[in-house]
């Protein structure tokens, strides 16, 4: 096996892996993702009908969906939705909540500081770093180009 050509082997192995069920995955991602967004629209419209302004309604919608994603993760349902929906479940903000709650639950036995509180940012940490960091850069560039 010392003479094994790694490039050739990798190519050969590629041929052995069963292909993902592309069409089914795409359809399920579309349906699950679409459904979660429609639910978001429903909440948003309801809040707007109560007379909230647009930005408050948007914020409350996020909060409501985050609550839902967290709860379903706690109940052990969101991982099943994720298995069916793939990116349809992980891309919406409910998936962001899932990525925070699942490690927080998993590492409870390691304590409340280095377990729950620290591990909950395993995936959320990078999201906040790039999101907040990026927003500040956008803000600074706005100042630079709009000259105020």
């Amino acid at each position: 096996m010392e003479k094994l050509n790694k490039k050739e082997y990798e190519k050969y192995v590629e041929g052995k892996i069963p292909k993902p069920t592309y069409v089914k995955n795409i359809i399920m991602a579309f349906l699950v993702g679409g459904f979660i967004c429609t639910l978001g629209q429903f909440i948003l419209n309801y809040l707007l009908s109560l007379g909230l302004n647009e930005s408050s309604a948007a914020s409350f919608t996020s909060i409501a969906l985050v609550f839902l994603g967290s709860l379903l993760t706690g109940l052990g349902i969101y991982d099943k939705i994720g298995k069916i929906g793939g990116a349809g479940a992980s891309v919406p903000i409910t998936g962001f909540a899932n990525s925070i709650v699942s490690p927080a639950m998993e590492f409870k036995r390691e304590g409340f500081i280095f377990g729950v509180a620290s591990k909950m940012f395993t995936i959320a940490g990078p999201v906040l770093v790039y999101g907040i960091g990026g927003s500040v850069i956008v803000g600074l560039l706005t100042l630079l180009f709009k000259g105020r």
């Binding site: 979660i36 948003l44 967290s70 803000g139």
Partner: protein, 118 residues
């Protein structure tokens, strides 16, 4: 009509994620971070606003919408409060979601235990 548009736009954004998952070595965590960053960048360039106007929650509920909210907050902050606004605007706009995720995440972790897969 709102609902149909939200379904289609949200569904399509997720489909892009699914195609990346199935055809590259990217994990869901990579997708989450890159979609968010894409939302910030497109929001900064003003390209995400038309998608939000058309798709409503279909564009704001995906994580890219979270990035969009951050960038819009920063732009608005820079406009009204200058340098300080450029720093605080993003977090102000997205603060609700972030605070919710931290609180609910913590509480749910306290209440529930993970179950093994079968």
């Amino acid at each position: 009509m709102d609902y149909v548009k939200a379904f289609i736009v949200g569904g399509l954004i997720c489909v892009i994620g699914q195609i990346l998952l199935d055809n590259t070595k990217l994990t869901p965590a990579h997708i989450l971070v890159s979609f968010l960053t894409a939302g910030v960048v497109l929001g900064g360039l003003g390209l995400y606003t038309p998608i939000v106007e058309f798709g409503g929650a279909g564009a704001t509920v995906p994580i890219s919408g979270f990035g969009y909210a951050l960038s819009q907050g920063a732009i608005e902050g820079a406009g009204t409060k200058g340098l300080l606004g450029a720093f605080t605007g993003g977090i102000e706009a997205a603060g609700g979601g972030i605070a919710a995720v931290i609180l609910f995440g913590y509480v749910v972790a306290l209440v529930f235990n993970p179950k093994t897969k079968d």
